[in-house]
Amino acid sequence: MERRSSTALLSVLFFGIALLYLPILVLIGYSFNASPLVNVWGGFSTAWYGELLHNRQLLQAALLSLEVALTASTGAVLLGTLAAIALVRFARFRGRLLLTGMVNAPLVMPEIITGITQLLLFVSMVQLFSWPHRGFTTIVLSHITFCTAYVTITVQSRLQAADRSLEEAAMDLGASPTRAFLEVTLPIISPAIISSWLLSFTLSLDDLVISSFVAGPGASTLPMVIYSKVKLGVSPDINALASLIVCAVGACVIAAGYLMTRADRRRTREAQLAGH
């Protein structure tokens, strides 16, 4: 649907966008405030950024969070892509309804419920099998669970839109179904796979509630450390850290979005040139 919008509509759109961005911009502004007092402007300074490098607790937590996010997003992409293939390509199989439910429910399930139920599973598993010990492993397992849902939904819609006839053509030319999928369809859905990996990575990096339940007493992820600091009030070094994270993630997402749109355009053009 492409029709002209009234000024009233456009102003709501821009008001909404301003609402989404204003707090982040103000936060970045505060992070350069030399004064540790939040209501006084003490001049421009990058001191709080320097201070981050000396905070061992934050660095350690950041390292753990990065390790968790790398492992969990990779695991989630593998499981989620398999689930998407199963749901799109296999019209009927035993457990299809169950799988559909289990990939959709985590998207809306309040984290606090997922967190407590998974913790209870892990402590019961430890009683039965002496595994997994709370820490890195349990955080990764629970992050894979909710990230898989996002991966499945993203890849599923892309796979549904993919043209099946290309794959059939490859099979007519003698490729096995597996080879046809890997060489024809996989490149087509790869932008969705990459973006869902990125999404899983940022979601895992950001998770506070589920990690707090399953992490156990020994391990603290970055959001857990940030939460316990900001719970005590505004702190200038967290402003600096938050600005860094928000800008880094924003830049990555914009770059990835740009690269994928470009690759997509090229593929469409090639398909058009090929007379498709």
């Binding site: 456009l10 419920i113 139920t117 894979i144 669970t145 339940f213």
Partner: protein
């Protein structure tokens, strides 16, 4: 078409199916079981529901005490109602802001749509926790909003927003708005403009055409977006904890305190199970519309 037996299929189906069953579905069974246990001062901090007597008989020690406690202690009822109310009105506000936004994006030129969607989605990609924290910089007593309003002379005393219900509403609307806009955009984009033109040709005013055609056809998006906001908002913990005051007792906070403050895992499990029963309806609606939309 009868599904043919191909073992290769199960190599694809089974890994996600087994993983999600073990780590998403089965945990609910454990929470259900432990909600009938009693708190005990050992590791893990609850009594066994099933145990074997010395002569190898299975013994079942079910305690309904947690649920009785949930029904009699006022805190839980108040928190459930407060959470439902807060989530309900936040969803309405999100809808009121999100619908015109999605509508405006759907009506803009196709070349601009991608960019606008990216702008809407970008905050969702960046940290939720940090965005809630950033909001504090705007709404606290000496924050951006009050400073600006005081400078403009619109108010003489700072507005008290932090640690009130209003702060929780602002937090939820701010954090969940993208979840409302996206599904709405997805349905509005598919809407055939010819339908609206036909209605106008037949003498209907734009307002009438909107009410008769656009609104009913976008209903799946309204429902999907509302559920994506409402269900997580009911269980929201971070927003009431960082922005709300002592009175904003949402159920997520009660559960958190029960667990981390009182170390009463069985009561926390019972709160979670009660909460899940409360959400079963909305989750079923969400699933139903999702499945229908995927099949369409």
């Amino acid at each position: 078409m009868k599904p043919t037996w191909r073992p290769g299929r199960w190599l694809i189906i089974l890994p996600p199916l087994i993983f999600l069953t073990v780590f998403f579905l089965i945990p609910f069974a454990f929470a259900f079981k432990i909600s009938f246990a009693e708190a005990a001062p050992h590791v893990p901090p609850f009594t066994d529901v099933f145990s074997f007597t010395p002569d190898h008989h299975l013994q079942l020690a079910l305690s309904l005490g947690n649920y009785r406690y949930l029904l009699t202690d006022e805190v839980y009822g108040v928190a459930y109602l407060y959470s439902l109310r807060t989530a309900f009105f936040s969803t309405l506000i999100c809808l009121a802001i999100g619908y015109p936004m999605a509508y405006a994006i759907a009506r803009s030129p196709r070349s601009a749509q991608g960019l606008l969607l990216l702008i809407i989605m970008l905050p969702f990609w960046t940290s939720f926790l940090l965005r809630v924290y950033a909001l504090e910089g705007i709404i606290r007593d000496n924050g951006f909003l009050n400073t600006a309003l005081l400078h403009l002379g619109l108010i003489s005393h700072p507005l008290r927003i932090m640690r009130t219900s209003l702060a929780v509403y602002i937090g939820i609307v701010y954090s969940y708005l993208p979840f409302m806009v996206l599904p709405l955009f997805a349905t509005l984009e598919k809407l055939d403009p010819l339908l609206l033109e036909a209605a106008e040709d037949l003498g209907s005013t734009p307002r009438r055409a909107f009410v008769d055609i656009t609104l009913p056809l976008s209903l799946p998006g309204v429902i999907a977006g509302s559920m994506l906001v409402f269900i997580p908002a009911v269980g929201e913990f971070v927003i009431p904890s960082l922005l709300g005051g002592p009175n904003t007792l949402m159920i997520g906070r009660v559960l958190w305190d029960e667990f981390f403050g009182n170390h009463d895992w069985p009561v926390a499990s019972a709160v979670a199970i009660g909460f899940l029963l409360l959400l079963a309806g909305p989750i079923a609606i969400y699933q139903y519309y999702n499945v229908r939309q995927l099949e369409a």
